[in-house]
Symmetry: C2
């Protein structure tokens, strides 16, 4: 594409990493033409309410409600409902804050009335003053299930149970996206990918955040079609995940935790991989997978640095077409 002042951007998004990238998009006034297609494979029912961890993390980050220390949840927050739930013997392994519950109640009530997650999310985004369109990948439920090995043996558990209750410690033998075969991509997600000038695969967990999107209906095919305008940002820097269990799961699957392995995973989808300057030496290995390597600072600790990164991505993709 030519570098235009208002490129249409579509960000395939998980949670914290995507949220910080999108905060940069907002900073650069690219937001009105930006759509985040958000993984909902982490979504789950807890205490009867529908919790959407990736959507919520992005929502709280972009509305300024997020807890800056954790990168997820709200601060300040109270935990009165959880205290009562604990007293009653209800589920308390997942930390539901009271303000957070307010959103869950709002969403769950509308879901129970038969409304779609997409339209509910649109209203939440509008009410909280967010200027990026957040599109859940589907209105249908998909559940990321992990077969894990613990001291007690092998068991299949839901993502949040693995991630929160088990603190993502167990060895992962298999990942399965329950419901993916019948779930339909939301039409707005399809449009956002197909019409984007720049598709960004956020620095999110490939197995837990990005592949649920890529394996949903024809979304993966649409990204393949957009491969030369798709840029992935490696979530692995210096052999470690920026956040969460991406590196350990790669190792569990027999992959070296590195930007090179990320290139291998994303090669069918992304023509370009952004590699952190600390992994600059891997650029040659990345390109052996047929993926152009672009080395830059990917540590997006604050929205200004994230905005700089987004500027560079727009230029990078614009420069070769």
């Amino acid at each position: 594409m030519a570098v235009t002042p208002n490129p249409r951007i579509c960000v395939l998004s998980g949670g914290v990493g995507a949220a910080r990238l999108l905060a940069g998009v907002t900073r650069r006034k690219l937001a009105p033409a930006t759509t985040a297609v958000v993984n909902t494979g982490d979504d789950t029912w807890i205490a009867g309410v529908r919790v959407c961890p990736d959507l919520d993390t992005i929502t709280y980050t972009l509305s300024g409600l997020v807890n800056p220390h954790t990168g997820w949840g709200i601060a300040p927050e109270t935990f009165s409902a959880l205290t009562m739930l604990r007293r009653l013997g209800g589920p308390t392994w997942f930390t539901l804050g009271d303000r957070d519950i307010g959103l869950h109640l709002y969403r769950t009530d509308r879901l129970r009335r038969g409304e779609g997650l997409r339209s509910i999310t649109r209203d939440v985004v509008r009410r909280l003053g967010i200027d990026i369109d957040l599109v859940p990948m589907s209105d249908d439920e998909v559940a990321t299930m992990l077969t894990v090995r613990t001291d007690d043996g092998v068991a299949e558990v839901g993502f949040q149970e693995y991630f929160v209750a088990m603190r993502h410690q167990p060895h992962v033998e298999r990942i399965r996206y329950d419901g993916i075969a019948t779930a339909r991509p939301h039409p707005d997600a399809r449009t956002a990918i197909a019409e984007a000038d720049l598709v960004i695969i956020a620095p999110s967990n490939p197995f837990l955040s990005v592949f649920p999107i890529l394996e949903l209906g024809d979304l993966g095919d649409l990204v393949r079609d957009a491969r030369d305008r798709t840029v992935a940002i490696s979530p692995i820097v210096g052999g470690q995940a920026i956040k969460g269990p991406a590196a350990s799961i790669m190792a569990d699957f027999g992959l070296e935790p590195s930007a090179t392995s990320v290139a291998q995973l994303y090669a069918p989808y992304a023509g370009t991989l952004v590699v952190d300057h600390r992994d600059g030496a891997l650029a040659g290995d990345v390109e052996r997978h047929g993926v152009r390597a672009v080395v830059m600072d990917t540590m997006i600790a604050d929205p200004d640095r994230s905005a700089d990164l987004v500027d560079r991505l727009v230029q990078v993709v614009g420069s070769d077409r």
Copy 2:
């Protein structure tokens, strides 16, 4: 009955008045043999959770959680979820506190899994250390609907909307218990009435709290059968309701708001009516309805006075058999 040390007591219960009476039962160690059959006609769905105002008021009172200033709700309490719901444009006319929501989430989650309100309530009671068995009148949903006249004309609204949002100000033209024809009394409610040595109709609103119980299946017939061991406590003292709209609804229905009218309403069910000493002059009028009048102090502002009242009721019913 003979006055036994452990009479089996069944209290037909609404909200605040019944809760205070039951607090007296607890004080007198009559609790293990006491069952409260609780009106659930006020129950409603708010923000996707099942709210049971009468059950909750009794639960919070007997567990010591209740807000002593209101007689309902919890204190101390936070309102973080409500603040978020308001920001999102969700329903906020009903004041849902965060600790209160903790209970609603627990209950709603189990209801959604197909469990009955009776067994859920049993677990709540056990967890909160309550020593009286609280039996919802039914596991089936009944909704008290009021036809009200306002400046905008005539409309039918749910009880909570009338009571909370409209502050029980409108003229009431009609009261209907939606679902009462098909709802089934809980078997434990039937047993509690049939086997009680003393049935107490709490000083609750006859139209909004007691008749939903009496008109449910054969519960009214069972109370008629127990008429000579049933004592009602007048919720009208000095021409006014102790709490809420009982007096104004009586007037709307063409009844003088008085203990005499209460006697008329309950004559088929209760052989005895407890009249406050301030209404002692009405005893003769009460008895003209074929109901024995017993004059005593019915202002049960604290559990000790409530306990004294319960002691007297046990003696009163025991004395004439």
